[in-house]
């Protein structure tokens, strides 16, 4: 049996090839550097070269984000729709449960990067949210409604799947018990802070629901708009902008189209989502009645960066503004924390298998050559899964103000960086989108009659 496993292991290493060894952060580094310097065409060129080796879902997600930043909405929608089809396939499996477990087989033998990337739950939710945002930017509110409706339906599927999964885990008589606290030297504070634990879960975000409220409100559907604002408040309680969204809903819906005012929604995004790295640990595995140290890898985030002070100045009125509605940085860490027990269990199981294979290889070949080969493959392939949708923003905020129509001077400040411009405010509703990445500001706007 073990000899057969050695064969499978070596074959799988060959088949998995570069994908199991590559570092996603290194791959994407040049792309993110180009974004930081405002060279979006270069970033797209670099990303397109990754097409052959990249995971399909991640490729589509990142490509969509690049085209979105560039303002090419047709291309952004094309890639994000392709990504959405893959997520819909996941949803079909999530309803059945079984298929998702079966896909983990390669990760037990080699490493977690062999698993087909299915996206974190919060990424799946953000995907349809971003599709809705893109439709809004093209002025197609009806299409935005379809996408935002898919967002809350997706949340419900994820909720049910995770509930069933938690129940299965609770019922399972697991033979491996290893807690995060046991990871010697692991910077536990990066995934175990009070603000991280205060999140209701890793996938729901207030922005998606606030945007749902905004879209349904434009379509004069208060019975759907109100729960959008209400859910946003539940996820980010006591936030004044979110509370004002619900409190002022009836008044806003009854406001005449031609009163000379525009309801301006400002969406402000900051940075890039956090990068994961591989952290190596020596774990203890029982083999042939003895305890053996084996190396295994788990993902790790670097320490959180401080949130810069931000503000928006409209004419002479300064509005204190903070990208604090959604903290994707925090959600990423919470996702990793939730997944960590399963990652450790798979890593230990994999390490145990590798120890057994090396032992069998040593028995098979007295010269030790086969054993050395297996040992080498074990070390080389042992790397944590560092993949994630890296071009998502780290943080998202919203601001909302009723303005008289016409040209206004608007100035954004974030830390020491600022961007000012004249904006033509028009329509009954208007959406102004701003994203700051490093010193670069990406701005888009659209108004709705």
């Amino acid at each position: 049996m073990l000899l057969r496993l050695i064969g499978i292991f070596v074959s799988a290493c060959v088949l998995a090839g570069c994908q199991s060894l590559s570092q996603y952060e290194v791959e994407l580094n040049q792309v993110s550097e180009a974004i930081l310097s405002g060279q979006l065409d270069d970033a797209l060129g670099l990303h397109e070269r990754r097409y052959v080796t990249a995971n399909q879902l991640l490729y589509f997600l990142e490509a969509g984000e690049l085209y979105w930043l560039k303002g090419d909405y047709d291309q952004a929608l094309k890639f994000w729709r392709a990504a959405d089809q893959l997520v819909q396939a996941w949803e079909s499996l999530a309803r059945l449960d079984t298929g998702l477990i079966a896909q983990d087989v390669g990760s037990v033998l080699i490493n977690d990067k062999v698993k087909s990337y299915q996206g974190y739950d919060f990424e799946k939710v953000m995907l349809t949210t971003r599709i809705a945002l893109t439709h809004l930017m093209t002025g197609d509110v009806a299409a935005a409604r379809v996408a935002i409706k898919a967002t809350h339906e997706r949340e419900a599927i994820i909720e049910r799947f995770r509930e069933r999964q938690a129940l299965l885990v609770a019922q399972e008589d697991t033979q491996i018990s290893y807690r995060i606290d046991d990871l010697n030297g692991y910077p536990i504070e990066t995934i175990d802070a009070s603000e991280l634990n205060s999140l209701r879960n890793s996938y729901q975000n207030a922005f998606s629901h606030y945007l749902a409220g905004f879209i349904y409100e434009q379509l004069n559907e208060p019975s759907l708009s109100a729960p959008g604002y209400r859910k946003a408040i539940q996820l980010k309680s006591n936030h004044p902008v979110l509370r004002a969204g619900l409190i002022g809903l009836e008044k806003r819906i009854k406001r005449p189209d031609d009163d000379g005012y525009t309801d301006l929604l400002i969406v402000y995004e900051e940075g890039l989502s956090p990068a994961k790295m591989s952290f190596e640990i020596n774990g203890l595995v029982a083999h042939d009645g003895a305890i053996t140290y084996v190396p295994f890898s788990v993902p790790v985030y670097s320490a959180r960066s401080e949130l810069p002070q931000s503000s928006v100045t409209v004419a002479d009125d300064v509005i204190e503004f903070s990208p604090d509605i959604v903290d994707i940085d925090l959600m990423s860490r919470r996702s990793l924390k939730d997944e960590m027990p399963a990652i450790i269990a798979r890593s230990l199981l994999r390490s145990g298998l590798k120890v057994s294979m090396q032992s069998a290889a040593d028995d098979l070949d007295e010269s030790g050559a086969v054993g050395d080969l297996v040992a080498l493959a074990t070390i080389v392939t042992e790397s944590a899964d560092d993949r994630s949708w890296r071009l998502l923003p780290a943080r998202i905020g919203v601001g909302r103000v009723l303005m008289d129509r016409g040209t206004h001077h608007i100035e954004f400040r974030s830390g020491s960086s600022k961007r000012s411009m004249d904006v033509v405010v028009d329509g009954k509703y208007m959406l102004l989108f701003m994203r700051r990445v490093g010193a670069q500001w990406y701005v888009k706007q659209v108004f709705f009659d």
Binding site: M1, L5, S92, L93, L96, T98, G99, I101, A102, D104, V105, V108, K149, H152, A156, R160, Q175, A212, N220, E221, P222, S223, L224, A226, P227, G228, R230, K231, Q234, L349, G352, L353, S356
Partner: protein
Amino acid sequence: MFQRGYVLRVAILIVFSMVLGCSKSVRYGDSKGIETVSIEFGSTDLQKIAEEMTRSMLVSQLVVTGNRPLMTVQDVKNLTSEYIDTRAITDSIRTELARSGVVRFVVDEEAMAQQVSELERQQDGEYYNQEVIAERGKMLGAAYRLEGSIRSIVKQNSDVKDVYYKVNLQVWEIQTGILEWSDETDIRKIRD
């Protein structure tokens, strides 16, 4: 033994999921059948509310003694945290009442823009026979308005989720402000 058991289990799961993958098919279901796919507000809840409210209104004094009263439908406020399209409820009630012929409905606030647009199109257009076009100032105002609300109470612990919906509808006489009819229905769903 542990590894062998795991590999065997994974193999069984792969075969099982492949079999399931092959057996997926599309079928029609009974649109009136009880739907219990999830605990969220669903088609059965919508139908129950619409049927009970319509039945109640059909035997009310307003409808029985009235001479086909003119009514307009206003918002049923969704005061829950669920995305419930309450227009689906009022649309069903309106359809059933209109089908019974005992209540007549006039254009509501939501459809007013389209109504006015059509009137203006006929008035201003050179393509219509001016002798039979719809005239301005002939629309009838409603004598009554239908409105309501839906609320929910959600309780959940690690084992059980309990959702209670309460729907209340009212018909108000527009001229006098008198409440002519009101009824409520509730739904309780438990998932464990």
